[in-house]
C-alpha cells in the first residue's frame, strides 16, 4: 500500500513536467502553427543552462529563470530567422527544425559534455510522512505546473492576445483582415510555448538528471501527451500528462522496465483507434491544405527530362560502372549502404505517390525486416529463402495494419505519429531480449555464398543492392502506371471528389502501406546481409528521420529524387571528414540551407532553374519575347502561398 502511494507520488511530479511538455507542444504546434522538431531540445537547453548557472554560484531561483530566458531567446532567434520562412510548408519546416535540432544538440554536448546532469539544490531531500517519503521538489513542481496551467488558460481564453492567437491559428488570412499582425502574434505564441518547454526543463532538472541527447525523446513524449489530451486543449494536456506519467512510473516500478518506452506509443495507438481523425481536426485539416499546396506546387508543366524515369536508368549505369574505377573499401561500403537506403527511400516515395501521405515510419518496417530475418535465420535456424519470404510477408501484414490504423489521419499529424511509432519500435528493439538488446544480433553465415554472392562485405553486395534497387524502381513505375496506381493518385489529388464518386481511400491506403512496408523490409534484409549484423543503434531517432529527409531533399514526386537524396545524404558526411562534432554542425547547417533554398527538393529545384533558364533564353534571344517562366500550374487547385486560404 505504502509502496503504491510512493509510486503515485513519483508519478505526480513527472506528470507536472509532462503536462508542461504537452502544453508547450499544443501552443507551438497548435497555436503558433510552427513545426519545431527541436522543441524537446529546448527542455534540455533550459535544464542545462539552469544547472550551469547554479553550479557557478547563481541562486536557485535566478538560475531557473535564467534557463527559461535562454530558451526564450533562442526560440525567438530561431523563429524570426529561420522557421518563419517555411511556415507555409510544414514538411520543409520539419526538416529545417531538424537541422536546428542537430546544431543545438551538438552545442549542448560541446558546451557541457555528454553526461546527464541534475541540479543540486536546497530543495533536495524529502519529508517523511510515516513510511512514505515525499521529495521536497514535488510540491514545487506541481505548484508551478498549476500556476502556469491556470495562467495559460486565462491568457488563451480571456485576454485579447489569446483571442488573436486563436484566430491566427485558425485562419491567418481572415485574421490579417481584422488588422492582426499574424506573424507577430505567431512569434509570440511560439516563444511562449517554447518558454513553457524551458520551464518543464528547469523543473525536471530539479528532480531528475537530464540527458543532453534525449531531446527527441522529450519531443515525442510531449507529442504523445498533447495528442492523448487533444491538441490545443490545456486541460487535455494535464490529463494526458498525468496518465502517461503514472503509467510509466507504475510500469517502471512493477518490472516492465523493458517496455516502458512503449507505453506512450501504446496509449497513442489506443487514441488512434478510438478517434482516428485525432482529437484536433482543425490541426489535421489545416495541415492537409498545406499538403495540398505542396502537391499543387509540385505539379508543373515543363518538358523536363529530370521528371521522368529515364534518368534513373542513367544513374543505374553510372552506379554499375563506378566500382570499376576503383573506390576505397569504405567508400564502396558507404555507396552500398546509400543504395540500400535509397531502396527504403523509394518505399516512402511510393507511399507518398499513392496516398499523398509522407510517412516517417519506414524505420519500423526496415527494422522489422532486418530483425525478423535475423531472428529467423540465426536464433531459430530457419532456411535462408524461407526466412526472407516470411519476413517480407510479415512486413506486408504489419504495414497493412498500420495503414488501417492510420487510414484517417493526414498531414502533419500523420507524420508525427509515424515517427513516434518508428521511434517507439526502435526503443523497444533496443531494450528487448529477443532482439539482442543494445548489442543487437549477428548472423552467422552458414551459407557463405548464394548464387555467388558473398555476404558481409565486398563488391557483390554492392551489385546486388544496385540490382534490387533497379527492380524496385521498375516495380514502382509499374505500380504507378497500373489501374490501381492511377486510381490511388486520383484520390491523392482530390480526396473529396473521389469520395463523391464512390472511391474511398481506406483500401488504397492499406494496400499502399503494405507495398511500401514490403519494400522497406526488403531494404532491411539487405542491410542485415550487407553487414551480417544488425544493431538497434542503426535506428536512432535521427537515422529514422534521415530516410524521409532523403526523399524530401531529392524531391518527393520526382522519380530520381529518392536516389539523389540518398546519395547526397550518404556521401556528404562521408567526404566531409571532420571530427564528429563539426560534422554534425555542418550536417545540420546543410539541411537548413538546402531546405530553405530548395523547398520542393533538389531535383525539382534544379529542374526549375533549367526551365527558367530556357524561358529566359527564349525571351532574350527573340523566339518568344513573352515567354513566361515555364512555371505554369496545370493541375490541382492553385493556392497562392501567402494567402493561407482555408477551405
Amino acid at each position: 500500500m505504502n509502496e503504491a502511494i510512493q509510486v503515485l507520488i513519483g508519478g505526480l511530479s513527472l506528470g507536472a513536467v509532462y503536462f508542461l511538455l504537452g502544453a508547450g507542444i499544443s501552443i507551438v504546434f497548435g497555436q503558433s502553427r510552427t513545426v519545431n522538431f527541436a522543441h524537446g531540445q529546448f527542455l534540455v537547453i533550459a535544464g542545462f543552462s539552469a544547472w550551469a548557472a547554479k553550479r557557478s554560484g547563481v541562486p536557485l531561483l535566478a538560475a531557473l529563470l535564467f534557463g527559461v530566458v535562454v530558451v526564450g531567446v533562442i526560440a525567438f532567434v530561431v523563429e524570426r530567422l529561420l522557421l518563419r520562412r517555411v511556415i507555409s510548408n510544414p514538411f520543409t519546416a520539419f526538416l529545417v527544425s531538424l537541422g536546428i535540432f542537430l546544431i543545438l544538440e551538438q552545442a549542448v554536448v560541446s558546451l557541457w559534455g555528454p553526461a546527464p546532469e541534475q541540479i543540486a539544490s536546497p530543495v533536495n531531500g524529502s519529508w517523511s510522512v510515516g513510511a512514505i517519503s515525499i521529495p521536497k521538489t514535488t510540491p514545487v513542481m506541481i505548484g508551478s505546473a498549476l500556476v502556469i496551467g491556470i495562467g495559460l488558460v486565462f491568457i488563451m481564453q480571456r485576454s485579447r492576445i489569446g483571442r488573436m492567437i486563436r484566430a491566427s491559428a485558425e485562419d491567418a488570412y481572415a485574421s490579417r483582415y481584422n488588422g492582426i499582425n499574424v506573424s507577430l502574434v505567431r512569434s509570440f505564441a511560439f516563444v511562449a510555448g517554447s518558454a513553457v518547454a524551458g520551464l518543464a526543463g528547469v523543473l525536471l532538472a530539479l528532480e531528475y538528471p537530464i540527458d543532453p541527447t534525449a531531446g527527441v525523446t522529450y519531443l515525442i513524449t510531449g507529442f504523445v501527451v498533447a495528442l492523448i489530451g487533444g491538441l490545443g486543449s490545456l486541460s487535455g494536456a494535464a490529463i494526458g500528462g498525468f496518465v502517461l506519467a503514472l503509467s510509466e512510473t507504475i510500469g517502471e516500478a512493477y518490472g516492465a522496465g523493458e517496455w516502458v518506452a512503449g507505453i506512450g506509443i501504446g496509449l497513442l495507438i489506443l487514441v488512434l483507434i478510438i478517434r482516428p481523425t485525432g482529437l484536433f481536426t482543425t490541426f489535421g485539416g489545416a495541415i492537409s491544405e498545406a499538403q495540398a499546396e505542396l502537391t499543387g506546387s509540385i505539379h508543373r508543366i515543363g518538358d523536363s527530362r529530370l521528371r521522368r524515369w529515364g534518368p534513373v536508368a542513367g544513374f543505374a549505369v553510372i552506379l554499375a560502372v563506378l566500382p570499376l574505377i576503383g573506390l576505397g573499401a569504405s567508400t564502396l561500403n558507404t555507396l552500398e549502404v546509400a543504395l540500400i537506403f535509397a531502396i527504403v527511400a523509394y518505399s516512402i516515395a511510393l507511399l507518398y505517390r499513392l496516398t499523398g501521405l509522407l510517412s516517417f515510419g519506414s524505420g519500423l518496417s526496415m527494422g522489422l525486416g532486418a530483425f525478423s530475418c535475423a531472428i529467423l535465420v540465426s536464433s531459430w535456424d530457419w532456411n535462408f529463402w524461407l526466412s526472407i519470404v516470411v519476413t517480407l510477408v510479415l512486413c506486408g501484414v504489419v504495414g497493412a495494419l498500420v495503414g488501417l490504423l492510420l487510414s484517417r489521419t493526414r498531414g502533419l499529424y500523420f507524420l508525427i505519429i509515424t515517427f513516434a511509432l518508428a521511434d517507439g519500435a526502435a526503443l523497444v528493439e533496443q531494450n528487448a531480449a529477443i532482439t539482442g538488446g543494445s548489442s543487437g544480433l549477428t548472423v552467422t553465415s552458414n551459407f557463405d555464398s548464394v548464387f555467388g554472392i558473398t555476404f558481409g562485405s565486398g563488391e557483390s553486395i554492392y551489385y546486388l543492392s544496385a540490382v534490387v534497387l533497379a527492380i524496385v524502381t521498375l516495380a514502382i513505375w509499374l505500380i504507378t502506371r497500373s489501374n490501381f496506381g492511377q486510381r490511388a493518385q486520383a484520390i491523392r489529388e482530390n480526396e473529396k471528389l473521389a469520395a463523391s464518386l464512390g472511391v474511398g481511400p481506406v483500401g488504397y491506403i492499406v494496400v499502399a502501406f503494405a507495398l511500401s512496408s514490403v519494400i522497406a523490409g526488403l531494404g532491411g534484409i539487405l542491410y542485415l546481409y550487407q553487414d551480417l549484423a544488425i544493431t538497434p543503434g542503426l535506428f536512432t531517432a535521427l537515422a529514422l528521420v534521415s530516410l524521409p529527409l532523403m526523399v524530401i531533399l531529392g524531391g518527393v514526386l520526382s522519380p530520381t529524387g529518392p536516389l539523389v537524396g540518398a546519395l547526397v545524404l550518404s556521401l556528404v558526411p562521408h567526404f566531409l571528414n571532420f571530427n564528429t562534432n563539426a560534422e554534425t554542425y555542418v550536417y545540420g547547417a546543410i539541411i537548413i540551407v538546402l531546405m530553405l533554398g530548395a523547398q520542393s527538393g533538389l531535383v525539382p529545384y534544379v529542374d526549375d532553374l533549367w526551365l527558367r533558364l530556357a524561358a529566359a533564353v527564349r525571351r532574350h534571344l527573340g523566339s518568344d519575347p513573352e515567354a513566361p517562366d515555364g512555371l505554369l500550374v496545370a493541375t490541382g487547385e492553385f493556392v497562392p502561398r501567402d494567402l493561407s486560404v482555408r477551405k
Binding site: 484566430a167 485562419d171 488570412y173 481572415a174 481584422n178 488588422g179 492582426i180 513566361p628 517562366d629
Partner: protein, 267 residues
C-alpha cells in the same frame, strides 16, 4: 416606392463631399509571375458613396479586392486611400487606416464566439476610443438581434446569412471610412440577401460610410449603388452612373465578357 427612397438617397450621396476616398489607378496583378490576372484596372470611390463592381465568376473581382486591400501586391498602378498611397502596404497596415473588409465566404472564426469575433478587429486610427466601440457593439446587436442571441456561441453555430451579418458587423467594428464587401450574397437566400442590402443602405446613410461591393448579382448593384463598374476577364470597364444603365445593359456587359478568362486564379 423603392425607387423613390433610392432617389432621395442618391441626392444625399451627391451632396456629400466630392472628395475621392479611394482612387485605384491602372492596377495590374496576378498570382503567377508575369501572368496578369487583372489588367490596368481603375476605379474611384467618393466619400459616402456606394460603388458596385459587377462580374461573373473568375472575372477577377476578388483579385482586385485583394490588390486594393493589400493581400496581393500591385505590380503596376497606384492605390490611394484618403490621400495616402497604400499601393505597397500590407493588409495589417491598411485596415487601421479605416478599411473594414467582409471577405468572400465570410471567414468567421469557429474557434471564437460570436462576441469574440466582433471584438477581434483592431480599431482604426479614426476610432473614437473604447466607449465608442462599446456603443458600436450595442448598435450592432440592436440591428442584428440574431447575433445578440448567439453571442456566446461559436461562430460556426450561425447560419450562412447570420454569418454574413456577423462578417459585416465585424468589419464595422473597425470603425471604417470604407466598407469593402466581396460577394456578400454568396450562398445566401434571396430574402437574406435583401436584408443585407437593406443593412448596407442604412449603414451608408447612418454613418456616411463609403461602400465598395464586388458582386455577381446585377440587381444588388441596381438597388443600392450610385455607380457601377463591370468587370470581365480581369479588366474593369468604364464607370456607369446611376441612371445611365438599365439592368439589361449590365447583364449584357458582364455576360458578354464572361467565360473566356481561362484564368486559373479564383475570383
Amino acid at each position: 416606392m423603392l425607387n423613390g427612397s433610392q432617389h432621395a438617397a442618391d441626392e444625399k450621396q451627391e451632396a456629400s463631399e466630392h472628395d475621392c476616398l479611394l482612387a485605384v489607378s491602372e492596377v495590374s496583378t496576378g498570382y503567377v509571375k508575369n501572368v496578369k490576372t487583372i489588367n490596368s484596372c481603375s476605379l474611384t470611390v467618393e466619400r459616402g458613396q456606394i460603388v458596385g463592381v459587377l462580374g461573373s465568376n473568375n472575372a477577377g473581382k476578388t483579385t482586385l479586392i485583394r490588390a486594393i486591400t493589400g493581400s496581393l501586391p500591385a505590380w503596376e498602378g497606384s492605390i490611394i486611400f484618403n490621400g495616402v498611397d497604400i499601393s505597397k502596404y500590407p493588409v495589417e497596415k491598411i485596415i487601421p487606416l479605416g478599411v473594414g473588409v467582409a471577405l468572400e465566404g465570410r471567414r468567421i472564426f469557429a474557434s471564437l464566439s460570436v462576441e469574440e469575433n466582433l471584438l477581434l478587429p483592431m480599431p482604426s486610427k479614426a476610432s473614437k476610443g473604447n466607449s465608442s466601440r462599446k456603443k458600436l457593439l450595442a448598435e450592432i446587436y440592436d440591428v442584428m438581434p440574431d447575433l445578440w442571441r448567439h453571442r456566446n456561441a461559436s461562430g460556426s453555430a450561425l447560419s450562412g446569412g447570420q454569418q454574413q451579418m456577423l462578417a459585416i458587423g465585424r468589419a464595422l467594428m473597425v470603425e471604417p471610412q470604407l466598407l469593402v464587401l466581396d460577394e456578400p450574397s454568396l450562398g445566401l437566400s434571396p430574402r437574406f440577401t435583401e436584408h443585407v442590402v437593406e443593412l448596407l443602405r442604412s449603414i451608408n446613410s447612418r454613418y456616411q460610410m463609403a461602400i465598395l461591393i464586388a458582386e455577381q448579382l446585377v440587381w444588388i448593384a441596381s438597388e443600392v449603388s450610385s455607380k457601377v463598374y463591370v468587370m470581365s476577364s480581369g479588366e474593369l470597364g468604364e464607370e456607369r452612373k446611376r441612371g445611365e444603365w438599365s439592368e439589361r445593359d449590365l447583364s449584357d456587359a458582364y455576360l458578354g465578357g464572361a467565360g473566356d478568362s481561362g484564368d486559373p486564379s479564383p475570383g
